[in-house]
Symmetry: C2
Subunit: 195 residues, 2 copies
């Protein structure tokens, strides 16, 4: 632990925590320039390291992207958890859905890398936040009936996911009022009929 270890991370042959640095730079690039504009070499460049050094921490580019996607999903989950916490129990379902769409529009790069990057299917437990949050809330609406809760959760997730996608892809105007209108008008449906 020399002095240089403490006051400056520059010019060391060994980076210290290159994996974390690559991930941070990757997230930064994805957020600022978008998923399609990202290259393994540019991520390395941003950290000030040779392109192939990435391979000491990720087997290939896909793995790096999956790590980025995993973090993106964690952040989305966090945003939803906050929304659920801040809203009343009764309106939590809507709030979580709204948070989902709003996150997608506020962080298109993150949302895209998490959901539409080719060949990415994250299995990280924490990444299932959306599914589990919605399912838990749905359990309330379904009166504890597991099967119905799953279906309600799926319908809600599909709905907000589709809405987010269509807006991101310019198929539907990304109007905040439209989000509210769509979600609020659908809300009455989420519970569904007692049958």
């Amino acid at each position: 632990m020399t002095v240089s270890t403490l006051n400056s991370a520059k010019r060391r042959y060994h980076h210290g925590d290159l994996r974390a640095a690559l991930l941070a730079e990757g997230l930064r690039l994805v957020e600022s320039a978008g998923v399609e504009a990202i290259s393994l070499r540019e991520v390395a460049r941003g950290v000030g390291v040779s392109p192939t050094s990435v391979y000491r921490h990720f087997p290939d580019k896909q793995a790096l992207m999956e790590a980025i996607a995993s973090e993106a999903l964690a952040r989305l989950g966090e945003a939803q958890a906050v929304a659920a916490r801040e809203s009343g129990q009764a309106k939590a379902f809507n709030a979580v859905g709204r948070a989902y769409v709003q996150f997608a529009l506020a962080h298109p790069g993150l949302f895209r890398v998490a959901y539409t990057y080719p060949g990415i299917a994250v299995r990280d437990p924490t990444s299932e936040a959306t599914a589990s949050i919605l399912r838990d809330l749905a359990l309330d609406l379904a009166g504890g009936e597991e099967a119905r809760a799953r279906l309600i959760g799926l319908r809600a997730w599909s709905f907000v996911h589709g809405l987010a996608m269509l807006m991101l892809d310019g198929r539907v105007p990304a109007d905040p009022k439209l989000i509210d209108a769509a979600i609020d008008s659908a809300a009455i449906d989420f519970g569904g009929p007692p049958g």
Copy 2:
């Protein structure tokens, strides 16, 4: 119009209808190998033509992909139109939604190039088939009230689009029964309350 023009399209310097051939090969590749595995050079290779000849018919790769996406959307629209025609008037709404998801699962490449290829936002009128079909059907359910019909259409489109995406991306099992269950249980909601 020599003999070779009629019996064989090979070995001619001028292809005749290269644009159409490139499009066909592109669609074939997208369908068989997926969107991410496609390159301008391979499309040209498949047609037996030099890579740069593509630029005589499309300004760049993006334009070629957009043309492919446009055709993919047309086919999706056709599948939905068929579904609408074949089902009773009352069940048309569900049938169209089901056709949408089924098309996505049956032709993942086509669906993906149409909806999640980076930077593609098709403006072709015929490509709005989904939106217009759903809107027209919704007009019935909404009793002719334009604004409400738009909202119902948007909700339905978002729902099936999200469901298709989540299944394509492996977030939700691509189970046909699950599709039916989700769509059928949601159907009663599509109409919404009279208010």
